[in-house]
């Protein structure tokens, strides 16, 4: 049943989010990002998060590259990378990653290479965890935001065993191609559904 399916998805997502908040992986800033999403910018959070992944991985590679060099001494450069990572983590609400950056920076300021190496390991671990969880979150989310797109319709349809679906609003109302019926809730109410191009 449609209503039940959506509710279950929503519950899944909320459970995952709650867990991430509880663990301190995400903080309130992530919620702020979600609040900035609307019809005019329906993929805002995933867009920002993707930029974050892209940038962070580059920075992590740079950090590892610096530290792997036995003759490494450019702590200042390391500090610059760290500040960037700290800033962007803070901007998306990635609290634990940000906190590890702070500790990392302390080791860097002490010019301690072993300290930095340990911190980097921890940082990479935290980052991986965050990335995996956010991916999970986004697998669920597209169906619950403003899914007037092919991609979301496909996902939704395949999940519930329909081949084509046109989703009218974020409440996941289904509408027949001829516009004759709108339905929320039970699938059995629908006679047929067809995909309309966006």
């Amino acid at each position: 049943m449609l209503g039940w399916g959506v509710d279950r998805l929503r519950a899944d997502m909320n459970r995952l989010l709650a867990m991430l908040f509880h663990q301190g992986v995400l903080d309130e800033q992530f919620l702020q990002l979600q609040q900035l999403e609307d019809e005019s910018s329906p993929n805002f959070v995933s867009e920002v998060v993707n930029i974050y992944f892209h940038e962070s991985e580059k920075l992590l590679r740079n950090l590892r590259g610096l530290l792997m060099d036995r003759e490494f001494s450019d702590y200042k450069k390391m500090g610059t990378h760290l500040n960037q990572l700290m800033g962007s983590s803070s901007s998306i609400g990635a609290k634990r990653v940000r906190n590890v950056c702070v500790a990392f920076r302390a080791s860097s300021e002490q010019n301690s290479r072993p300290g930095c190496l340990r911190a980097l390991e921890l940082l990479e671990h935290e980052y991986c965890y965050l990335k995996n969880k956010l991916h999970e979150l986004f697998q669920v989310r597209p169906l619950l935001t403003f899914p007037n797109t092919f991609q979301n319709s496909d996902l939704f349809a395949s999940r519930f065993g329909f081949s084509l679906v046109y989703i009218v609003t974020s409440d996941v109302k289904l509408r027949c191609a001829d516009g004759s019926t709108e339905s929320t809730g039970s699938w059995s109410d629908l006679r047929f559904v067809t995909m309309e191009s966006v």
Partner: protein, 227 residues
């Protein structure tokens, strides 16, 4: 919401940040608050957008043709919001350059920073920044921007009235520009206001032709024309 063709109905903010994420964020925040946004990733790009090139010499206005840098700017900028920590030109450097420019100094500047360093905050405010926001910036923070932008908007509109008036009086000469700053200029600046909006010229002219030139303008300290 915006009246098409009338740039006065919408505020335009220039956002400066070298971080792509923060740029995207501030852009979204500003758009959500119904501001027009231009986002650039460096102080030098910001200055270029504002029509100010770094080699402009403020101490020698005679060498600067009246319509020079300001022509490059098609849109009025009502506020600049900039990150503090940026490679090359920092937000503080940008703030200084804006405040040192006769054509740009009236634009309110807001600084953002991820670090809460009191001396940094003081320095920026002393240099003329209107506000200092700690990152991550929230929607609620943006509510503090409007009063600053309103100030400039009203001032610009007054200046435009003045411009129209003078345009109708003076035939072929450059437009003299009264300086609204209490700190009096040591020499008159003959450039027209860079914040003057082209699209509105005709509209306002029709309305304002009949204005009395004796209308008091306390901001200009009684100086209404300079030749």
């Amino acid at each position: 919401m915006a009246i098409t063709g009338d740039s006065r109905s919408q505020f335009h903010v220039l956002a400066v940040d070298d971080s792509m994420i923060d740029r995207k964020l501030i852009e979204r925040l500003l758009k959500t608050s119904s501001y027009q946004v231009t986002a650039v990733d460096s102080g030098s790009k910001a200055l270029k957008f504002l029509g100010l090139h770094e080699e402009d010499d403020q101490s020698n206005p005679d060498t600067v043709p009246s319509a020079s840098p300001n022509d490059h700017r098609e849109v009025e900028v009502n506020l600049i919001i900039t990150d503090y920590c940026m490679p090359g030109m920092t937000g503080y450097d940008l703030l200084k350059k804006v405040k040192e420019s006769s054509s740009l100094r009236d634009i309110p500047v807001v600084i953002m920073s991820s670090e809460n360093v009191p001396s940094r905050i003081t320095r920026c405010l002393e240099e003329g920044a209107e506000e200092f926001f700690l990152k991550p910036v929230r929607l609620a923070d943006l509510n503090r921007l409007k009063p600053h932008m309103m100030k400039t908007k009203i001032k610009n509109e007054k200046q435009e009235d003045q411009e129209k008036l003078e345009k109708s009086e003076i035939q072929s000469e450059q437009q003299p520009q009264p300086q609204p700053q209490p700190e009096a200029q040591s020499q008159p600046q003959p450039q027209p206001s860079p914040l003057l909006q082209q699209p509105n010229n005709n509209k306002r002219k029709v309305m304002e032709e009949g204005l009395s030139p004796d209308r008091t303008r306390p901001r200009y300290n009684g100086i209404t024309t300079m030749v």
